[in-house]
Symmetry: C2
Subunit: 272 residues, 2 copies
């Protein structure tokens, strides 16, 4: 049985959403994926701040205050009973019976959904570069967790179709910018590097902490630089995944050099 | 009362979709918007062909044959009772309880939804160029009707916020490629021009018919070319909308020169 929290009610997952929800029809919404240990979410204040910033950019009203959101998440985690969880908070403009892109109905009735799933660790990944699509670094959506995951999906699908676990994505200029569900860190000349937000990288919550923790620098990563790197990993709010291979070239085992798990411990000095 | 057709049933719109539908969580799906007069849809075979091509690219199974889709659409139009309708067919990968981008559950249970709304004509629009986001011409999604409408939405929102009716969108190279919900046709030196699909334009069903009807040529449109044009309109499967003004510069009234309505008549030689 799967419980979800939807617009104030704790309900069993079944038929719940309107087919006119603009999150469904037009990807008109934002979301956050939050790691939790027991009933305690990690980096919650920052996740809610980013959700609100995205909603504000879209002009979507956030229907609940932070402390009510926190209570909803804790109540769902209590009900779900996983040791480690991936909590997803989805906020859309809600259902609209007006056809077309804009303007939607007024007053808005936003849809706010919280789900939780058991979280497992990830094994090191064999990765490639997606060649069928690119990340739109000209779009403000590249800097938000919007529902528009089509390009990332197609890149992941391409990688798996070609026998890899995941793909790195290029931006419109052909520079390497991220993986399909996380920020990229590469070791180049013994120093960690990650693409800047201005190249189309999401300002990830793990990313900003890692920049501080492992003293990474932000720099544009070209394809030739990628081939010179000797180690790498992908980070998101749920955890880090080491890159085992890049297009068949083996990468160094970084587990002895970098601690990629303590970042996510609730007792970490930069948790909260 | 609004009726919808969902996965084989004609139902009243209420709470219907799973919050785990990947169309909702990841914009993992495609759609078509189809004009209909009475119970007869226009260009249906072409719409269903494009839906199937998009679904095939995504790897989404189309759960019904064309003739069953046609019957569902006709039945919904009968029930909805509008003179002119905008029918929307949405196909998503369906609900998945597996977290993450890929792979989804197997076997798939795709979601297929048909809705219908009354269609009204559109008045000539005052338009501008969106400056906050651009169309991703590097993505195959630019050539499909995918659910990823975030950039178009933000462009439309920007235009309305600045006092215009709609926006033209630039691609990654800064060339003019389309409006937020239609293809662009401009008159330059007395000849109609429309941006090519390779610049990021959707291969619209009205677009291809217009290219033949008004003898338009496909060419990259730069911003300076835009300022030299003296007339223009936006086309989609529901109709054409004349451009009254472009960033405050008045455009010629084309209603005497081009017939933009007969294209959509069911009796037209290129209807069907």
């Amino acid at each position: 049985m799967t419980w979800v929290w939807l617009n104030g009610d704790m309900i069993e997952e079944s038929a719940l959403l309107s087919p006119f929800d603009r999150g469904f029809t037009l990807a008109d919404g934002v979301f956050e994926t939050i790691r939790a240990t027991g009933t305690r979410p990690l980096w919650l204040a920052d996740h809610l701040a980013r959700l609100k910033a995205g909603a504000s950019y879209y002009g979507i009203r956030v229907p609940l205050e932070d402390h009510v959101m926190a209570e909803a998440i804790a109540a769902l985690l209590e009900r779900s009973d996983h040791t480690e969880s991936a909590v997803r908070v989805t906020l859309t403009r809600g259902p609209s019976h007006r056809r077309g892109l804009w303007p939607p109905d007024d007053p808005q009735a936003p849809t706010l959904l919280v789900t939780a799933a058991a979280l497992a660790g990830t094994a090191p990944q064999r990765m490639t570069i997606a060649r069928t699509t690119r990340r739109n670094d000209h779009s403000p959506l590249s800097r938000m967790k919007s529902l528009n995951y089509g390009d990332n999906l197609l890149a992941r699908r391409e990688a798996i179709g070609r026998g890899y676990g995941d793909a790195l994505m290029l931006n419109s200029k052909g520079n390497v910018v991220c993986a399909t569900a996380g920020n990229l860190f590469l070791r180049l000349d013994r120093r960690w590097v990650t693409p800047p937000v201005s190249d189309g990288a999401l300002p990830g919550l793990a990313r900003v902490r890692l920049i501080a923790t492992i003293d990474a620098r932000e720099a544009t990563i070209t394809e030739p630089m990628l081939w010179k790197s000797d180690a790498g990993f992908v980070s998101n709010s749920l955890g880090c995944t080491a890159i085992a291979e890049l297009d068949g070239r083996g990468m160094a085992d970084i587990s002895e050099h970098v601690d990629l798990t303590s970042l996510y411990a609730l007792s970490s000095p930069i948790a909260g």
